[in-house]
């Protein structure tokens, strides 16, 4: 298992001006923010990019106002949600749903699943390499056994069994957290 900084540790380091910590914080939450805007709110890519940059700009500006360092994750989730709704209400886009027509129940369900996905992602970071990269390439990047084997200099014939073993490790990691 890999020793990964907690969210609170990362926030504390960011506050002291640690650029590496900021890089890690952005990396840690980037997929979550992106998924909220594109999957839960179905924003077009240009709007999603604007929301993405605005979320991290506000996080950077207001990090000192965070009541508890552990609260960074729900704060980023709520901030992203609010900016997505603002974007929809601005009416500056063509899309399938206006803000007033949003089925917020469905969005809440989607956000809850993305929150679970972020928990699994945190578990993946804790499992470390090479499992992190193998599972990321296969499940998140949709790469073939051959592409993964080529990228990691592993025989393609061993990738399936490695994925299975890594899933088992990740399962154990997640069970240890519950």
């Amino acid at each position: 298992m890999t020793d990964v900084a907690t969210d609170a540790q990362l926030v504390s380091r960011c506050r002291s001006g640690d650029q590496a910590a900021w890089n890690e914080l952005v990396e840690r939450f980037s997929r979550y923010v992106y998924a909220i805007s594109t999957q839960a709110f179905r924003l077009p890519v240009q709007d999603a990019e604007d929301v993405f940059q605005e979320v991290f700009a506000r996080v950077y500006e207001h990090l000192d106002r965070l009541r508890s360092d552990e609260a960074i994750r729900p704060w980023i989730g709520q901030l992203t949600r609010r900016l997505c709704i603002d974007r929809l209400r601005s009416g500056s886009r063509e899309g399938p749903a206006e803000a007033d027509d949003l089925e917020l129940g469905g969005i809440d369900e989607s956000l809850a699943r993305l929150d679970e996905a972020l928990t699994v992602r945190a578990g993946l970071d804790a499992v470390g390499e090479p499992c992190r990269e193998i599972l990321d390439r296969f499940f998140c990047r949709d790469q073939s056994y051959k592409a993964i084997g080529d990228a990691l200099a592993l025989p393609a014939g061993t990738i399936a069994s490695r994925i299975s073993r890594c899933l088992g490790k990740l399962k154990s990691e997640l069970e240890g957290r519950s």
Partner: protein
């Protein structure tokens, strides 16, 4: 999360695909962009003609300084200039 069967873990992993190229780096460069914006604003305070050029086209001014003019960076520059 209740129950950690591998099928469910795989489905949850698929929900978080990579972010398009460049987005993460732009967000990571925000602290440096803030420093560069501060330098740009300081120069604008000293040089009225430069300030006029910056105000006329914020994006071009940022690009000239090698700063990516993302909407949040442009907004930050505008706020700083208005505050002066």
């Amino acid at each position: 999360m209740n129950g950690y069967d591998e099928e469910r873990i795989a489905a949850l992993l698929r929900l978080l695909p990579p972010v398009p190229s460049g987005w993460v780096r732009a967000a990571q460069e925000l602290p440096q962009a803030r420093v560069e914006i501060a330098a740009l604003v300081a120069r604008a305070e000293e040089d009225a003609a430069y300030r006029a050029r910056v105000v006329a086209d914020l994006e071009a001014a940022l690009e000239a300084e090698g700063i990516a003019p993302t909407p949040s960076v442009v907004a930050a520059l505008r706020t700083r200039l208005e505050a002066d």
